[in-house]
């Protein structure tokens, strides 16, 4: 009985995947170019993220507050980190989509920079999606976890990799006018 259900589930998912690919080919999956990147990014405050994941700061809060208050404070800190990680996930997806178009360029240098950008952006996206999933589950079951554990997911150090993403993006957008490059740095 279970195998019949699983078989039909796989067939249904396979059919949906076929429809998705057909729709993608039909609509030609719109490409992102330079104009669709800089103003589509949300700023991520990495120093704030560092502070949220700092074990010493967390220990300090837990020391000063009563257990109930600490739980409340930790929940607020988790919500804030959710927002930061959500932005990371969004920005990395924008950059992956942008590099999709850049990778197939004939200019070898730009293509290689785009490849580095995409690789880093994918790592950030994997980190962000896994961390978001973890945080949502924790918030749903009302667990009070230790935030420093969120620094890594799937062997990816989230903050370090996001920093590397900034550098890779700067390299990939090097030919932009200085003002646009400044906006990119600010928005990332």
């Amino acid at each position: 009985m279970i195998s019949v259900f699983v078989t039909w589930l796989i067939i249904a998912c396979g059919a949906l995947a076929c429809v998705y690919m057909l729709w993608g080919a039909w609509s030609r999956f719109p490409r992102r170019d330079f104009d669709d990147v800089v103003h589509f990014l949300y700023p991520v405050d990495l120093s704030l993220a560092e502070a949220l994941l700092d074990p010493a700061a967390e220990f300090d809060i837990s020391w000063k507050l009563a257990p109930q208050e600490f739980r409340e404070a930790q929940r607020k800190r988790m919500s804030l980190y959710v927002e930061l990680v959500r932005r990371m996930a969004h920005n990395s997806k924008v950059l992956v989509e942008f590099s999709n178009a850049e990778i197939i360029r004939e200019d070898l240098l730009r293509s290689d920079r785009a490849r580095t950008l995409q690789q880093t952006a994918i790592e950030v996206r994997i980190y962000a999606l896994l961390t978001l999933l973890k945080l949502r589950v924790w918030m749903w079951v009302s667990k009070t976890p230790t935030m420093p554990h969120l620094r890594k997911a799937a062997h990816v150090d989230g903050l370090k990799t996001y920093d590397a993403l900034k550098t890779a993006a700067e390299a990939a957008f090097l030919h932009l006018p200085p003002t646009d490059l400044e906006t990119l740095t600010r928005n990332l």
Partner: protein, 241 residues
């Protein structure tokens, strides 16, 4: 029906030409081997069709090779996409788990086919074929999820191969599951739908491979960045750190 049954062979021959033109045998050796084997196997079956005993062996031996090649090329596609993507140790277990799931689902369906097939080797080949179909659909679903979740570029050869197999395997599983309930009255419809879906799969491969994946300049090395570019790069790094 006879004309229809040879359509995939002709399309496969066209695919082999496209693969040679794109030099895909370097990038996807298993898929290239599969395409060449498909043409050779069809020609072999055609040449011995008047001798039932020889045809019997030719059919089952080629089916067994199709099973092995099916798994090998799905692994090739999976590695191509996920090879450098996820660095966790358990990522290496994903493909073996998919194969194990395919075999498990195939085994649960074995009781339906065991009475109709004469020998154990043939039963193993049919079970292997169903397992490969499950693997093909599962790999296809995972790859499409990656396009959606990570924003990966869908117009890649690896996705083209997975889409062709995913489409064919979905139709094959659907028709096999549905028609097994209705009996032999639908044998013609079952056979025709499989041939048509396989032909569509080959057309998908031809379409994906008809475009060069990455246009590279013919020069031996990448052009060096200009001094202005290097200066701006250094400036950007200085601002970041």
């Amino acid at each position: 029906m006879v004309l229809l049954s040879y359509t995939p062979t002709l399309l496969m021959l066209a695919l082999v030409c496209v693969l040679v033109q794109r030099r895909a045998h370097h990038q996807f050796p298993c898929f290239f081997t599969y395409a060449v084997f498909a043409v050779v196997a069809d020609l072999a079956r055609f040449s011995v069709r008047s001798n039932p005993d020889v045809y019997f062996y030719a059919y089952w031996v080629t089916e067994a090779v199709y099973d092995v090649l099916g798994v090998a090329l799905m692994y090739e596609v999976f590695q191509k996409v996920f090879g450098g993507l996820v660095k966790v140790w358990w990522a290496r277990l994903v493909f073996p788990c998919i194969v194990a799931a395919g075999i498990a689902l195939s085994v649960t369906r074995a009781h339906a086919t065991s009475e109709q097939l004469g020998g154990r080797p043939m039963l193993a080949i049919v079970m292997g074929e169903i397992a490969v179909r499950f693997v093909e659909v599962l790999v296809f679903i995972i790859l499409v999820s990656m396009v959606r979740l990570l924003g990966l570029r869908w117009r890649q050869y690896a996705f083209g191969i997975a889409t062709g197999f995913g489409f064919y395997a979905t139709v094959a599983l659907l028709t096999t599951t549905t028609f097994s309930d209705f009996g032999t009255d639908f044998k013609f419809l079952w056979g025709a739908s499989l041939i048509v879906s396989y032909s569509v799969a080959v057309l998908i491969w031809i379409w994906f491979f008809s475009v060069a994946e990455i246009a590279r300049p013919t020069g031996p090395a990448a052009p060096s960045p200009s001094p202005e570019e290097l200066e701006r790069y250094k400036e950007a790094l200085r601002r970041l750190h």
